[in-house]
Structures are given as C-alpha cells and as structure tokens.
C-alpha cells in the first residue's frame, strides 16, 4: 500500500522534536532513562500522532484508544508526546522528576493522558488485558453504552522476564482479545546488560506464537513498518497481536547508540551532540 510521504516525514520530524524534549527533561532533572525512551520514540510517535483515536482535550473520553506503557520508567518519551499532543502544558517538562511535579519519575495516572501507573515491571499487560476485556464484555452483554476501543501496550524486552507477562498473554489469547496489541520494544538491553546474557528470550516470536498470538516482526524505528504493523494488528480477528519492534537503545544520537545508555546523566558534551544531530 502506498504511504503518504508527507505524513511519514511529519511523523519523523515529530519524533525528532520529542527526542529534543526528552533531552531537555533529563538534562534538567539530572538523570533519566534516555536509552529506553529513545528506543520507543517512533512507536509512541506513530501511536499518539497518527494511529490512535484519542482527544487530548478530553482525556477521559470513554471510547478513546488506550496506551499502556508497561515499561513505565521510560516515561520521559510518553511525557514528551503527551505534552506535545496537548494533554498538559509543555512547561511541565522543566520540572520532570522534581518534588511535587506533575511528571513523576515513573508514569502514573495523576498525569493527564497516562492510563496506567507503572513502575512495577511486568504488570502493564495484565492491566491492558483488563481494559480490552471491557469492550468484549459490553459487546456480548448487549450493553447500550457499549464501548469500542483498542488497547496498545508497550513492553520492554527485559520486562518479559517477569512471569506475569506470560500469565496475561495466556488470558489475552484465551479470551480472543483482538482489540489488544502489544509492542515489544526489543532494544536488546536491560538494566545491567545485554538481554541475551542476562536472560535469553529467543526465540521470542515463537514464544508469543505458542501463546496463540498473531506475531509481527519489524524495524521499530521505521515509521512505515510501524504503521503497517499496527494496521495489520487492528485487522486481525480472533486473537491479539504482538509486534516485536527491533530497536536501538539511545537511537538517534550516535554516541548514545554506541553506549546503549540506560539510566544516565547528560553531560554538556552529550547535550551538545544530541541537540546538533536532532536539529
């Protein structure tokens, strides 16, 4: 299917702007999860600025699509996107991680637009399953005010070590939750090193497939591939979809990519380099 080149270009520019917001946020806060925020950038950009049905002026709109950021430590990118979309003033970026701030160190529902309070890894998918079940219950109960929405859940790859992820995966396929899509931010690194060294996940596609999910494998920085995968997920009937999005920790700034930064301070050199390449 041909893609709207202007749309793709706009989304790529938006992704750049969001990365700049995150650099500023983490620079002011003194620390933050830069690597995981930059690996999920295109996924969040595509979801919030193109794919999802939502209304920043009406964050509680019952029919909105839901985005559950299960890897809630990488909330800087979610905050950047929500602020940019208009859920709250971008002024709040300046106080991320500070005492009394709207933008806490892990995303929580006290921030407009945040659907789920994370921080405890491995629980977001269960929450997303609960949200997705709401539409199923309403549809089959013939409820007059039946809600129709899709639920998207971003999981970290390291997070897939948690058993509850797989408990939730069982439930989602058992109840045929085709309104649920998981995107695994497969950046190959977790807190203390390489995923492959800490806890091998491969064959990851086969794992999800064996849990009776529809599985896609994409380049998680390629806007076209993300768009196509999300469309395919929405069209898939009778089962949930997981999109394994291969990404790079720190994507977008060469020295960040090289060092696969996880939780870090931003030095003056890093700041200058990032702002130069993200212009």
């Amino acid at each position: 299917m041909p893609h709207d080149e202007k749309l793709i270009k706009d989304l790529e520019e938006k992704a750049k702007a969001l990365r700049r917001h995150v650099i500023n946020m983490i620079n002011k806060a003194g620390m933050g999860w830069i690597g995981g925020s930059f690996s999920e950038t295109e996924i969040i950009t595509c979801l919030l600025f193109h794919h999802m049905k939502h209304d920043p002026k009406n964050p509680d709109w019952p029919e909105r699509d839901r985005l559950i950021l299960s890897k809630a430590h990488c909330c800087e990118m979610l905050y950047a996107a929500l602020g940019e979309a208009g859920y709250f003033s971008k002024e709040h970026f300046n106080s991320y991680g500070k005492f009394g701030a709207l933008l806490q160190a892990h995303s929580q529902t006290t921030t407009p637009g945040v659907e789920y309070s994370g921080g405890s890894l491995g629980t977001g998918l269960s929450f997303a399953v609960g949200e997705a079940l709401v539409t199923k219950i309403d549809r089959y109960s013939g409820s007059l005010d039946s809600q129709k929405f899709n639920v998207y859940c971003i999981l970290g790859d390291g997070e897939c070590d948690e058993g509850q992820v797989w408990e939730a995966a069982l439930v989602a396929s058992h109840f045929e939750l085709d309104n649920l899509t998981v995107i695994v931010d497969r950046n190959d690194y977790q807190s203390t090193g390489k995923v492959v060294d800490i806890m091998r996940l491969e064959p990851l596609m086969e794992k999800w497939r064996s849990f009776s999910w529809h599985v896609l494998d994409i380049d998680g920085h390629d806007m076209v591939q993300i768009m196509d995968a999300l469309n395919e997920a929405n069209k898939t009937r009778g089962k949930p979809t997981t999109i394994i999005a291969h990404t790079i920790k720190g994507k977008g700034v060469p020295s960040f990519e090289e060092r696969r930064l996880h939780f870090t301070k931003i030095t003056d050199d890093m700041y200058s380099e990032a702002m130069e390449v993200l212009r």
Partner: protein, 322 residues
C-alpha cells in the same frame, strides 16, 4: 447500635462465602457493571447464576492470582466493578504488589479474600493466612472489611458496590452460626456494639466474633460485665469505638484469627497507646504458622477459645484494678 441486631440465639450454620454469593446474585441484576473473576476458585451459586444469565460477566482467569488482580484493575479503569475471588494467602501472597498498584490508582476493585485466617481446617500452614490484616492495612487508601457471619458477609458485599474504591473483604472458610438479624444496618467503618458492658471491652472481628460473645457469657456468670464489639471494618478502623471503650470500660481484649502483630490487636493497641492508656491483651495467632487440624483442635492449640478470651479478660480487669 446495640444487641437488638443480634439473633436471640445463634442461627443456622452457614458459610460466609454463601452470604457473599447471595449478594453477588442480587448485584447481578441490580448493577450491570458488576463482573466476577476467579483464579480457578470455586464459583458456587453466584458462578452458576452468572454463567446462565450473564456469562460474559464471569471470568475465570486460571491459577494466576497476581495477574487476576491487575486485570481487575484494567476492568475497573474501564468502568466495571470487578470482584476477584481466590484464597486470601494467594491474593496477598501473589498479588501484594498488584493490590498496592490498585490502591495507588484508587481503582474500584473488590478483592474477596476467601478462606482467611488460622481457622481453616485441613489445608495447613501453606493456606492459613495470618498476615493479611497487618499487610493490607499498611496500604494507603485500601479499605479492609472482615465480616462475622453470612449475613454480615452479604451486607458487606452489597455495601462495597456503593463505595467507589478498592476494598478487600476477608471471609473465613468454615460454616459458622448466623448471629445477625437480616435487618441489621451495616455501615463500612462503623463498629457494632454487640453487647454493652462496663468492666472491659472485647474487640473482635470475623469468625472470632461469636467466640467473643460466648466468652462474654462466661464472664457474666462470674460477675464480669464485658462489652463486645464487632470490628468488621479493620481499615479505616472505628477509632471512636476504641477510645470510648478505653474511657468507659478501662480494659480491653482483642480477638482475631490472624497474627496479632499488626492485626486487630495492633490496631487497637495503636489507638489506645496514643489516646487512653488502659490494660490490653491480644488474643490471636501469636507470630506462628498454622497446621492441619479440626477447627476445635486449632482453636485449642492457638489459644483462640472462649476460655482463653475469658482468661485474658479477667487478667486485664485485674490489671485495671491494681
């Protein structure tokens, strides 16, 4: 409230779970948002009813309690009122982190802690949960209710639907005599004075309330006039009832089927210590795991009988006078 809400004599033997199931069946029709969840746990009458009439509001999520509790959070965020069902030990043991998350978000989930406490015959230490009160009451924003019989269990389950927020309901496993009249007005957070008394107050909760009443009968034969209070809500605890008891009766015994460390004993001791210092003795599982056995054998082994309660009562009354 007074003893007028008590039956003249304890009535038929009935499980608290049965009372809860009766509430769910009524709620099925009354509130279409009510959804019932099970972690492969016996569904009893409510399960059968929902399966026939509202099959899509009945979800069995398999043996994965922590997952069930977070799924319930998602359902609540979408406007449902989920009741989760599993053994107390596994709801808290496997789902503490998940319960904590619900409480943080004030999600409208009702966690039914089935088979609570020490007095669960046969299943043994792995299933006898005695840390529930201490652990849950430390969670900000969570309400914890512990009914005494099937009538109060039913009233609890009906009342929690009217309250928007996370609630845990601890119900014991055995059949117990019904002590409450059907027209007893239950209110979350409001302790019930089951018997007036001036020499001391016995605070009890859950399955041990009847034992406390029987202990008061024993005491009255010896000329000791014990007030008996059903602390059905452990959080928020009715601090006024505790302060009044301390001021008016000057001695207190607490009785529970869970660990006294942080349990009802802890609750009452905290309030008394900060307000009106009076002699106090705590009856309950004293920092010790359970074991298999009949209810009577367990009560005897863990000093949970009316005789133990009466003995403690006499002790605090003696301390008050000395």
């Amino acid at each position: 409230m007074s003893e007028k809400y008590l039956r003249e004599h304890p009535g038929e033997m009935k499980m608290m779970y049965t009372g809860h199931n009766e509430a769910l069946i009524e709620l099925a029709e009354e509130n279409e948002d009510v959804v019932i969840l099970y972690a492969d746990f016996p569904q009893d009458e409510a399960g059968k009813y929902f399966k026939n009439k509202f099959p899509h509001r009945l979800l069995n999520l398999g043996i994965a309690e922590g997952n069930m509790i977070t799924v319930a959070g998602g359902l609540a965020a979408g406007g449902k009122i989920p009741f989760t069902h599993c053994h107390n030990i596994f709801a808290i043991g496997r789902g503490y982190n998940q319960i904590r998350q619900l409480a943080f978000d004030k999600l409208n989930v009702k966690i039914v802690l089935c088979n609570s406490g020490m007095l669960w015959s046969f299943m043994g230490a792995s299933h006898q949960m005695i840390e529930d009160i201490a652990s849950l009451r430390a969670v900000p924003g969570l309400t914890l209710v512990s009914p005494a019989d099937a009538v109060e269990a039913k009233k609890t389950s009906k009342a929690v639907v009217e309250y928007d927020g996370p609630v845990a309901i601890r119900i014991a496993q055995p059949e117990v005599p019904v002590i409450y009249d059907e027209d007893y007005p239950f209110e979350i957070g409001k302790a019930v004075k089951l018997k007036e008394g001036s020499d001391l107050t016995i605070f009890s909760t859950g399955i041990m309330v009847l034992e406390a009443l029987e202990a008061a009968d024993l005491l009255s034969k010896e000329g000791i006039d014990a007030r008996v209070i059903d602390m059905h809500t452990l959080k928020p605890a009715d601090e006024i009832a505790i302060k009044e008891a301390a001021l008016e009766t000057g001695a207190i015994v607490t009785v529970e089927d869970s660990n006294i460390l942080g349990g009802l004993g802890g609750i009452v001791a905290e309030v008394v210590t900060e307000n009106v210092l009076v002699p106090l003795q705590r009856i309950g599982a004293i920092d010790r795991f359970g074991q298999t056995g009949s209810i009577d054998e367990l009560k005897a082994e863990y000093n949970l009988t009316k005789i133990d309660i009466a003995k403690a009562a006499k002790e605090v009354v003696k301390r008050k006078k000395s």
